[in-house]
Amino acid sequence: MSGRIFTGDELTEDRVVTCDVCVVGSGAGGGVLGHELARRGLDVVMLEEGGYRTRRDFDMKEATAYPAMYQELANRATDDLAISILQGRTVGGGTTVNWCASFRTPPEILQRWRDVHGVKGLDEATLAPHWDWLEERLHIRDWPIEQANRNNQLLWEGLGKLGYSRGTVKRNVKSCAALGVCGLGCPTDAKQSMLVTLIPDAVEQGMRLFANVSARRLELDGSRVVAVHADVLDPRTDRPTGKRLTVKPKVTAVCGGAINSPALLLRSGLDGRGLVGKRLFLHPVVISTGRFRERVEAFFGAPLTVYSRQFIDRGPGKLGWLIEVPPIHPVLASVTMPGFGAAHQELMAQLPYANAVISITLDGVQPGDVGGTVSLRGESEYSRLKVEYPLTDFHWEGFREALKVAARLQFAAGAEQVLSPHSSPVVMRSEKDVALLDPAPYAPLMCRVASAHQMGGCAMGGSRETSVVDSTLRYWDADNLFVVDGSVFPTALGVNPMQTILGVAHWGSQHVAAAVGGRS
């Protein structure tokens, strides 16, 4: 049986479809789940709010990519705009536009999920065969330091000179030309995203994927989901066309990611006794920008290939962080670099000489660190969602120390100037200036914070009193509803989350499949 990919412009009438499983979302969670269910011979319908963009659309321009393939045109942010949030919104979800970094889940995180949050049956040994399969199918391989671009080499050198731990990052690419545009969509299909791997595989196995279809509400009859109600969107405008798609599945799996999944549940009146939308973790990031005498050209080459977890564990009560470097393209750089007017223009003119170090903080693993919240602004099916994430002294202390480490790394690598992410940046010209970071202002919108990793919001756990889904990813209060994406993480990870989402979805697919024929 061959399936089909439908786009909004093909859905010119209201439609009702039935299936075994409705998968809402096509990213790392939904992509793997849809594949595994279709492989088992189940009738799968997948809904994706974003468009069906392929390499014919990936022209390597930010002007094209951000409005078309990111949530809220890449302008998603917390309600106070203090944290900007990069999140995919296209077939393949984040896997289509992320920077390819692939890490297995740190063992200590899985142990914490077991010991603190009561998650059962999810450990390294259990996940290993799932990851083995995924690493083979998605061609997840080491990217040797010899192939690193200058941006990553500078981090490697800085880490070495300061004696910090360092490693190279595995990437899910095949025949990669290192164009540097992973975040804008891969024009050669080298990136082994869901878009070009498991989703086409699943379609060949019979899966029907509806792109430009926004799931608005789950309809329940007692404790069972009986329908998914969705709007068809115009692919050119992203506005509802007025046509509706109604899916009547035996089982529903919500895979919209850590912000949209809780929002869908809340719109459907499923609040998990007040827990849906809580424990949202963003891996809040601060960026340190270095300027070098040599051309770095951080917009070219594999974007993210070196990392350090030297500071991931700073002990009780301290926020730890992961160190990496990002690609630096003009639009992204312009909104993250400080200043205004001619001064900002001068910074932008030096873009080829810029290196950036990102400090990705590990949230949710310290007592009292409950992260943020996703909620709705109103009661209706069309209420906008709201993301709140209070930044406290706990975070600011971590950000400050992370910026000091980043600046030292950049000077060790040869930077002639380092700028902090403050709206009025701390300008450092040598290592001795790093102390200037201490008295700088640390407050929302005075010091820029970003997020490219969203986790939590539908936390998995051992008790219905403390979690939204159980250890089989099933919503505690519904028989045939599962959540299969990064929203089920009870904490953040301290590494890029794609591979953990892939692995959890691959492992969790057995439970979803079992539920089709009755409760497992």
Partner: protein, 209 residues
């Protein structure tokens, strides 16, 4: 160890706009209608027309863009890059509720009464001298009120996003997309017939363009 505490002040975009409406209430009570309705800059509208912004909001945003992108050799200026028009297009593509909030924000930003309340000036932003415009925008960045810093952040992000999507602006920074890799005619497979082969790779794996 001290556990994280809630942020002391978390004013939101929505509350920012309520503050704008509150300004309107003050206006009605205080008889300052003349101040609040003082005319701002007027600019010719683009021949394509506007989708979201009104004429005054368009002029206010373009006035801010002119300060963001002063003339510089090799770089398009704000008018060449048509920043406010591009921003209008971006707003039209996004959530209508967000567009409404940005319109309200621009109204507040250019409002003489708000300027008086927040900064003691009585001239709309768009009619200020260039240096005074810089100072007014800077005052929002450094304000002790999170609500004004939020407004600064929103407007700054909008003008920068709208400017650097212009190909000439991106090229001025030194970034030009690699050529020879994008195939606008590539087949978008939807399940009918065999899957197309992966895209061509014309360079050695791992090489930098």
């Amino acid at each position: 160890m001290s556990p994280p505490r809630p942020a002391p002040e978390a004013l939101t975009r929505r509350r920012l706009l309520k503050r704008g409406l509150f300004g309107g209430a003050l206006l009605a009570l205080g008889g300052s209608a003349a101040l609040a309705t003082r005319g701002g800059l007027s600019l010719p509208l683009p021949p394509e027309g506007l989708q979201v912004l009104g004429p005054r909001e368009y002029a206010t945003l373009q006035a801010l863009a002119r300060r963001a992108f002063p003339p510089r050799p090799g770089w398009p200026d704000a008018d060449t890059a048509r920043v406010a028009l591009t921003a209008d297009g971006l707003l039209a593509r996004g959530d209508p509720a967000v567009a409404k909030e940005v319109k309200d924000l621009l109204g507040l930003f250019d409002n003489a009464l708000a300027g008086f309340l927040f900064a003691g000036r009585v001239t709309p932003f768009s009619r200020l001298a260039p240096e005074a415009q810089d100072a007014a925008f800077e005052a929002w960045r450094t304000s002790r009120l999170v609500l004004l810093r939020t407004g600064h952040q929103a407007l700054r992000t909008l003008v920068y996003s709208a400017y650097y999507v212009h190909p000439a602006a991106a090229a001025a920074t030194g970034y030009v997309p690699p050529e020879g890799f994008h195939d606008a005619n590539a087949v978008a497979w939807k399940g009918e017939g065999p899957r197309p082969a992966p895209g061509p790779v014309t360079r050695k794996e791992g090489s930098t363009p």
